[in-house]
Homo-oligomer: 342 residues x 3
């Protein structure tokens, strides 16, 4: 499928410098671009590649338009406009609608017309799949699980009982939603299980990454707001509430009963201890551990950058005596003051 | 199913303040409780919700009984008693016994009467499933895998060859038990595999969380003791031995050949390096890294709490020169002493 | 199957001290070894077990040969030679060739003669499986996925569209290769997806651990070089390039667009931020976070060892005022210098 550069520009409200009749049919990086390719410039460090790029068209900010060798599509937010054009050129491939003969659908489950259910899928009683949704091979839907319209659920996903997803959600392979929260009580002969009967409620336009797990609530549901984007290998504990449009990079861990505001961002392998409240608009840098409530929007960090191993080990050894060092400084200050006074 | 509050109290050895004939049929939090609900108070911070709570009955310690609006079920350990009552009200749903026609069971495998095998399950030769055990959709049992009685194995679980589980074990979706340990030897042309022929031996009443992986031993089996509870996304390396009733929160990583005592507790994303020995009764706080043997029961930590990003970056920059700082302090002490002596 | 010790020695270029006609048929640790067992000594700390070991034969360095009770197989690199002999004694069990009747293979997919496809496998159009390769139960191959000869793909693995593996690759259960990279662009109403159209290209002799995820590239493929060994629960972000023979222990996280050289080693739960370049021969210790390019081969660290919790908390409290402490030291130095000059 080829799209004319001029038509793309009009569709997304961009101006154009160059040939509007050129056609593009795939995306490319500036350096690897060839015929019929669409590229973009978002990071100014790559401006140097513009003059030599063989891209048919490049989405750029106005300041870079004159350097583009092919057609320049001028946008205020080039990355966002690129994303939209790329979705036209590369729509997510939708398999044919219908239920594969090797899927096992309970008689009391409901699959809407136009949904696509792959081989090996198992859907239990009371579950429902909305119109236009796609369910990949080997995926399991527990009793009462509901997904809305136009969702894309990858292969080998597990949605346990009473998990509800809104519309246009994406769940990548290996993800598990609605597994039991980690609820145990110490008895005289060992740990005893505490039933986890809350489900999971997930809004619209939520993405859940590969091998990410979201636990069901202990009593009330775990809640994921509209537009939340979760990368791979994330763990969300029971009873958490994640606010709208919050994003988390890979390997983030949110311990149970934590409430996170909207429009927050968590860097890779950052995390929180449990029972915290974090306000809207908080940015947590990679690997940082949040150990108490955060009431003020802003950026918080905690990562230690890599260091030459010997220097690091020396620093660590000193760190473990840092309290002593601080006391020595205090004593020195006092001794010096005594000298001044004597 | 409704249960009379008075009968519950008697069954679990509790006294009661209020109407013993009231019935409960589900659990609720104090704040969301409505008709026919059972709640509990374990954290005194929530005592303030007792007078207004519409719970039909609340499990509480004696000191709080007089504040309960409905019936008070008085227990020495309210959370434990609540857990037991909740298990009566919300037993884990057991699907009908029998083998689904879309499961594939090797002729040389054994499934006990009363077990339930879902669609898409594949069980290889020599594997056996004990009476009353439930195996979820899409789960795989390798050759010689054995699980005991009344286990609950979720959907999309993988148990590789020669993995043995005791009775009443729970394995959540996406978990992998018995994958190869990470054994490689450097050869002249690259890393060569070292066969991993030990299996995995898991005791009774063990829980394994979603997406958790437990590697098989290199030569002898990896061992998980009775009553161990593992949360989600945990990695247990080959040859580890985990003592009875030890618990681990999500994302803990235990490197290979580490032996951990009984009744230990590991906070979220804590971990150990390999070939360590940790004694009984050790508590490791969240995100802490254990790098050497621990011979004394107690609590050990290592996490850095989040901080304002600029303050954190300043501290980190100083940290990397902490050895120099300590030497400066030493020099100051000497200079001051010289002055005193002069 | 029994193998004569003398024949093993000849086959792998080793000399022998003891009875060459003794037979071994399995591996064992020195302490647990019994009849017909092969063991090894790689770590000198275990030399003390040699005299008492009942192993039929032990692979050792020359210096230890005279202490071996049974036959000593003398090798320059005992662990490597042990690995090779162990692979003869314990070859990976290959199920019978052929396609199980409960597998679902698209008419436009290609499975070579001699490959083994288990029950519940789903292979989409355009995918191909090389000769001698084994695919475990419940595994999914997306459109255009290709694996070479003699690969072993475990059960419940997911390979999404356009993932290519070379020969002799091993992928453990629960792994996901080719899931979407985490590409989102902020729009006026929330995060919008950026299509991830690059695939994944994996070389020969690559191992991928259980529950490990490798994302597809945004535009060009994510690349894993020959001989790379990845343990469990690892996350490799989109657009990464991992050099040949690099190894990573469990729970490592490599953020997107990072290029790592060859023959590097990453300790457990270490990681990098994104868009970095790391040269060849770099060793990153467990839990270390790489936050900037590394241009010099060597070992880099960043982990804080566990500490008594109270001492740790004191150190942390001081750490957060480390900048202030450093300024105090500077002031003291100045005050002392003033004294000297007065």
């Amino acid at each position: 499928m080829g799209l004319k550069v001029g038509e793309l520009a009009v569709k997304f409200g961009c101006s154009i410098v160059g040939n509007p009749d050129a056609e593009v049919d795939h995306v490319a990086t500036l350096r690897s671009a060839g015929e019929r390719s669409l590229s973009f410039l978002a990071n100014p460090a790559y401006r140097k590649y513009l003059p030599e790029s063989e891209a048919t068209a490049v989405v750029v900010a106005e300041a870079h338009a004159d350097v583009v060798a092919g057609a320049a599509i001028v946008a205020q937010d080039p990355y966002l406009i690129y994303a939209r054009m790329a979705r036209m050129l590369h729509p997510r491939q939708a398999p044919a609608a219908g239920i594969h003969t090797a899927a096992v659908i309970d008689a009391a489950a409901s699959v809407s017309e136009g949904a696509s259910i792959a081989a090996g899928v198992v859907i239990d009683a009371g579950a429902s799949v909305g119109a236009g949704s796609v369910v990949g091979a080997g995926t399991y839907f527990g009793p009462g699980t509901k997904i809305g319209r136009d969702c894309w659920i990858g292969p080998n996903v597990t949605l346990m009982a009473d998990v509800h997803l809104g519309d246009r959600c994406v769940v990548h392979p290996g993800a598990v939603i609605g597994s039991d929260g980690f609820g145990i009580a110490r008895g005289p002969e060992g740990w005893e299980p505490v039933p986890q009967v809350g489900g999971v409620r997930i809004g619209d336009d939520v993405d859940v990454g590969a091998c990410t797990s979201i636990d069901r609530g202990a009593i009330e549901p775990t809640i994921i707001g509209n537009g939340v984007k979760l990368d791979n290998q994330i763990q969300i504990g029971h009873n958490c509430i994640i606010g709208e449009h919050t994003v988390m990079a890979g390997m983030v861990g949110i311990a149970g009963s934590t409430t996170i505001g909207s429009n927050c961002a968590f860097g890779g392998n950052s995390g929180t201890t449990g029972h915290l409240t974090i306000t809207d608009g908080v940015v947590i840098t990679a690997r940082c551990t949040v150990t108490s409530d955060i009431e003020t929007a802003g950026t918080y960090g905690g990562v230690f950058p890599h260091d030459d191993i010997r220097n690091h080990q020396r620093s660590v050894a000193r760190f473990r005596k840092l309290d002593t060092l601080a006391r020595q400084v205090k004593a020195l200050e006092r001794a010096l003051a005594d000298k001044d006074n004597s």
